[in-house]
């Protein structure tokens, strides 16, 4: 086969690494160092290579000693730094495995340990490895990290991640040869003796050895201690580590005595301690001269060990040299911390499958296909895709929303509200539970009725709101905001299980079990009546009541709740029949489908807060003007005590108000800060929601303003990120139908 290196073509052999091929072709140099541009060449035969770094296409910083040749390979030498190139990146796999024994290292002692082990055994070897009976052998697989003593991360062929849980780990990781310290120990042709042998004693090369350093990385990552071994001149594993054992050369056994160590004669600026980082003995001496005494300081001062080889051929020499310079025993210095990954691993390999469309699940309602087919523009609400608006005939969002709002207030409109969280709460103590979790009281809530509720954190801040429906003697269904469904259920379970285990109440998520469509507007009854036998008149079906029956032939629960102030019916059906219900409603008349944007406007006109928009974790129900939702009679509820704290009950806290821009066509920018006068800098609050109102024929906004409820009539200024401050008058929060006269349908003329 043919390969190209530094623009020149060479012949290569099957199974050869790039480094071996270069050496075979007599290329003992061909590289340059990162800081000083020194000529360099292949130094080793494995992952410890400090010099021979190459770029192969889009792959940067590959070690030539690990690059397997293939026909047509093009490699460019790198001076310690690679290139990131935009290129398609394959989705990588991740494998999980459990075993009794995991052996890291396929040399003699590793294979022996694997062969002797009982139960499911896995052997990892970073090079090539022959099969072994009864053992899952993963070769060309590097162990990157040993976490918490029993979880190993490994990468196979640079591409497939393995996550292995092992009852026992055996480390047979062997040792790395290090160079001796002498002036010019980095010259092209100088190479580790073991590499010299591995490459068949290439002509012109000079084999050198300063001894062997056990690969103690994984042992140390897992918390294993080390001690200095005088004989081999390197740290070795010491003591015990439950579930982890070292065998073979990593313990020091079978390694040759280290040559005697002394600081070399000659120019210290030519004695390389860390080849990849171009750090010399002179640099180390300077660091000591600066007053540094700890190995970590010396490492940081000189950058020894921080290169892409993480100092595999440098760290032990650094300890020995530093000890000499400081006049201490190497054992006193310890080592720098070993951290995963043992060798570098690509981002794309670690990221695995959860990329692109799989980055996070997409949640859609049963009605989703209809929304898509009818041109809905969507918004991400948590993991949900919700219709934001349904443009017709080239409408922009503003026009669509004005039309959808007008339909909801003047005729009839429908919204898919299936995403709201729904929690089934039942048991003999269900009422007591609700009373403790919500700020308001539920004692008087009858079967077949529902009530708006608010819950606070123990810190007194608004957490979520929703509607509590009493569907049975001891059974309720609570709705939550879309984004908080899981959080609220978890919150409820935490209190139930850990604080109130004496309460006999059980909670179940039924968010996906129900699909819900809201039918909204003065003509809502006219739309629904042909589809159901449930009486819809105000006398038979009062506000906040629940009725069971069939709608469009589907068993349904219908509630009269309204997030717009208009007459509204929420129709709840089995989730699997949500699309069927929706199609029936959509084709029953000329109901206008509307999305979250119109919903936002309609509820804002009535000053209904949206958790997460009018609230941010620092807002209490009282701040929102909802004193009525805080029970005066309940002895306690979650958050009650906090509401009495000085700062939480301050009179000048920010309060929810509405703003009417002085220019009725000026749309305030949501997020604008509010100041008392155009040149003032002290913030009085901010704009939380801002819209054009079809019903009012003008713009309006909701805002949190300091002591807002005592400032009606005052003109303040909303300062946008760009542009001039916009004057607006503070008014009562509800800007439309304050009396609530539209709730039961079109008010009498």
């Amino acid at each position: 086969m043919r390969f190209t290196f530094a623009g020149a073509e060479y012949e290569g052999r099957e199974g050869e690494t790039l480094a071996a091929a270069l050496v075979r072709h007599g290329i003992l140099g061909g590289f340059r160092s990162v800081e000083r541009g020194r000529p360099r060449g292949v130094y080793s035969a494995h992952e410890e290579e400090p010099n021979a770094l190459v770029q192969v296409g889009a792959e940067p910083m590959l070690r030539a000693t690990l690059v397997e040749l293939r026909d047509g390979l093009v490699a460019e030498p790198l001076a310690g730094k690679g290139r990131l190139v935009a290129a398609p990146a394959p989705r990588c796999e991740s494998m999980h495995a459990h075993c009794e024994v995991l052996v890291v290292g396929g040399g003699a002692s590793g294979r022996a340990a694997a062969a002797a082990a009982r139960g499911r055994v896995i052997l990892l070897e970073q090079g090539r490895c022959a099969p072994l009976d009864g053992v899952l052998v993963l070769d060309r697989t590097v162990a990157l990290g040993l976490y918490e003593r029993d979880w190993v991360l490994a990468v196979e062929r640079g591409r497939r991640l393995w996550k292995i849980r092992a009852r026992r780990v055996v480390l047979a990781t062997g040792a790395i040869e290090r160079p001796p310290l002498f002036p010019g120990n980095d010259a092209p042709g100088v190479m580790l003796a073991s590499a010299y042998e591995a490459y068949g004693r290439p002509a012109g090369a000079t084999p050198v050895s300063g001894g062997f350093s056990p690969r103690v990385h994984l042992w140390s990552q897992a918390g294993g201690r080390l001690r200095w071994d005088e004989r081999i001149g390197a740290p070795v594993p010491d003591g015990e580590l439950p579930g982890v054992e070292c065998v073979g050369r990593v313990t020091g056994a079978g390694l040759p005595d280290a040559p005697p160590f002394a600081l070399p004669e000659g120019d210290e600026d030519e004695v390389f301690v860390d080849l990849e980082r171009d750090v010399t003995l002179a640099d180390l001496r300077r660091a000591v001269g600066a007053g540094l005494r700890s190995l970590e300081h010396l490492k940081r001062y000189t950058t020894i060990g921080t290169g892409s080889d993480q100092g595999k051929t440098a760290n032990v020499n650094a300890i020995r040299a530093a000890a000499e310079l400081l006049g201490v025993h190497p054992g006193e210095l310890g080592t720098t911390t070993f951290r995963p990954p043992y060798v570098p691993v690509s981002f794309v390999v670690v990221a695995g499958r959860e990329r692109g469309p799989l980055f996070d699940p997409v949640r859609t309602t049963p009605m989703h296909p209809w929304h898509v087919a009818h041109g809905a523009v969507f918004e991400d609400v948590g993991q949900w895709r919700r219709p934001r608006f349904y443009p017709r005939d080239g409408e922009d969002m503003e026009a669509a929303v004005l039309r959808e709002c007008a339909a909801a207030r003047e005729h009839v409109a429908i919204q898919d509200v299936s995403t709201l969280g729904k929690i089934d709460v039942q048991g003999p103590d269900a009422l007591e539970f609700l009373n403790r979790i919500y700020t308001n009281a539920y004692d008087s809530l009858e079967v077949g009725r529902c009530r708006y509720g608010v819950m606070c954190t123990a810190d007194g801040m608004m957490l979520d709101d929703g509607v509590v429906m009493r569907v049975g003697e001891r059974r309720y269904v609570c709705t939550t905001t879309t984004g908080n469904a899981a959080r609220v259920l978890d919150w409820m379970e935490e209190w139930r299980q850990t604080e109130w285990p004496e309460l006999r109440v059980w909670l179940t998520s039924v968010t996906e079990q129900w699909a819900v469509a809201a039918v909204v507007g003065p003509d809502a009854r006219e739309l629904l009546a042909p589809l159901t036998r449930v009486p819809l008149d105000a006398g038979s079906f009062p506000f906040m009541a629940i009725r069971e029956g069939e709608v469009a032939g589907i068993p349904a629960r219908v509630c009269r709740v309204s997030f717009s102030g208009e007459l509204a019916f929420e129709v709840w059906v089995d989730g699997r029949r949500g699309l069927e219900l929706w199609e029936a409603l959509a084709s029953a008349g000329d109901a206008t489908p509307y999305g979250t944007e119109a919903m936002h406007v309609l509820r804002a006109e009535k000053a209904y807060p949206i958790v997460g928009q009018e609230t941010d974790g620092t807002v209490t129900p009282h701040d929102l003007g909802m004193e009525w939702v805080i029970s005066k009679t309940k002895r306690d509820f979650v958050g009650k005590r906090s509401l009495a704290r000085p700062d939480t009950s301050r009179a000048d806290r920010k309060q929810l108000v509405a703003l009417l821009p002085v220019n009725p066509d000026a749309l305030l920018r949501e997020g604008s800060q509010i100041v008392a006068a155009p040149n003032e800098r002290a913030s009085q609050g901010h704009v939380t929601s801002s819209y054009r109102s079809a019903a009012l024929g003008r713009t309006f906004a909701l805002a949190l303003v300091a002591a807002g409820r005592s400032r009606y009539g005052e003109v303040v200024y909303a300062v946008p990120p760009r542009g001039e401050p916009v004057p607006a008058e503070i008014v009562e929060a509800v800007v439309y139908d304050k009396e609530g006269s539209r709730r039961d349908g079109r008010p009498a003329a």
Binding site: A86, T337, R355, P646, D647, P721
Partner: protein, 402 residues
């Protein structure tokens, strides 16, 4: 090797038996405190006691992001004070800090992110802090390698931008303060672990250490993740919880990323350092830990996020992962000031956001130790706020998942 560090850094003195001020904790904030005590207040009879080696804790484990774009006025004031000090710090300390004001983007991926981002930009501008709201096309101009395509799972809908934000080289900052403090006469005492705090008639009068008893006029605890351990020695509890916060670097590459980019929703924050390595971080590990290590799935998730935002990073490689121990406060804001124990002061709770605040934290705490009461900048960050309810909730602006 090029010579980024001076020929002499600091002495290694034996600790005296008494100092006017003892600072416990030789990290970034402790060293900065010592420097400002000496420089601004002429108080040089100061010791910094560090149980291990100087600047081995969070100061050299963070992702080096510097910005002042926090939401509330109180936070803006102290972080902006820090940024102004950063802008003169290299000259003041006569040390190359590799301080680079390359801009910080905080991305918005949902409509509420946009509202929150605009709100923060507007608040920043009122506080005299440079802040802009950018639309996706403008974001792409600032950061060409960022993927602003609408065809991804959570598209970029805009971003806040602080042009004066950026990065610096962390150990240079710590060593710069240390050297300057040492030169002014402050004793930097390493390998000196505080094992007890001695009280006399309810007042903190000395510390017991592994290198002997050291009496003190005032004691300042500045030990980040170990704050609770130290406070307990004086019988105090704090509202902090210590968690691992992981970070990672890649190998070195030619520069492709010239801006600091942070995202809450697609959770990762990243910059490319001057030498060429990518520096990334994300959220804390959920459990309490002093182990300075976290779990791998946190790394996986942040790299998934990184590839969503930066497809060009696909073949970048993780070189090293590590963790610090961050002391997280319930409102993601620090505690800097006196404690109920006379003579004992605490500076902690910076959680995941301490590095950027280093100069102002040191400045304000030095003032507090010199005067015995808080400076205007740290007065709101008191222990009392937990009782009154006057919390300063910066979870959003902290931009690190808790």
């Amino acid at each position: 090797m090029t010579e980024p560090h001076p020929r002499f850094l600091w002495r290694n003195p034996e600790p005296k038996s008494r100092y006017e001020v003892v600072i416990v904790g030789g990290g970034g904030h402790g060293l900065a405190t010592a420097y400002y005590l000496a420089k601004e207040h002429g108080i040089t009879d100061v010791a910094v006691l560090e149980r291990s080696y100087l600047a081995g804790g969070n100061i050299t484990r963070n992702t080096t992001i510097i910005r002042s774009n926090y939401l509330w006025d109180e936070s803006a004031a102290i972080y902006e004070h820090a940024l102004r000090l950063w802008e003169g710090l290299e000259e003041e300390l006569d040390y190359d800090l590799l301080f680079s004001q390359r801009g910080v983007l905080n991305l918005a991926h949902t409509l509420q992110d946009v509202r929150d981002g605009v709100r923060r930009v507007c608040a920043n501008r009122l506080n005299g802090i440079d802040a802009e709201w950018l639309e996706p096309a403008e974001v792409a101009e600032v950061c060409p390698v960022l993927n602003v395509s609408p065809d991804v799972r959570y598209p970029v809908l805009g971003a806040t931008f602080q042009p004066r934000g950026g990065i610096a080289r962390h150990e240079h900052v710590a060593w710069g303060y240390a050297r300057a403090a040492d030169a002014l006469g402050v004793d930097l005492v390493q390998g000196c672990e505080v094992t007890g705090i001695e009280l006399a008639a309810g007042r903190a009068v000395a510390v017991e250490t592994t290198r002997g008893r050291i009496a003190a006029g005032r004691i300042g605890l500045v030990a980040a993740g170990h704050s609770s351990v130290l406070a307990a020695m004086a019988g105090l509890r704090l509202p902090v919880q210590s968690h691992p916060l992981q970070a990672l670097v890649s190998e070195l590459y030619d520069q492709v990323l010239d801006t600091v980019v942070m995202s809450n929703a697609v959770h990762v924050y990243v910059s490319q350092a001057h030498k060429g390595e990518l520096v990334l971080g994300a959220g804390i590990d959920a459990y309490l830990s002093y182990a300075q290590r976290g779990s791998f799935h946190v790394i996986e998730r942040q790299l998934q996020a990184a590839l969503e935002l930066f497809p060009i990073f696909a073949r970048a490689r993780v070189l090293r992962t590590w963790a610090g121990t961050v002391d997280v406060c319930p409102d993601a804001s620090p505690i800097v000031g006196p404690t109920p124990v006379e003579g004992l002061f605490v500076n902690c709770g910076w959680g995941t956001g301490g590095f950027k605040a280093t100069p102002a934290s040191g400045f304000a705490f030095a003032w507090t130790l010199a005067h015995g009461e808080p400076h205007e900048l740290n007065r709101p960050f008191s222990l009392e706020r937990f009782a009154t309810g006057a919390l300063i909730d910066e979870h959003g602006a902290a931009a690190v998942a808790h």
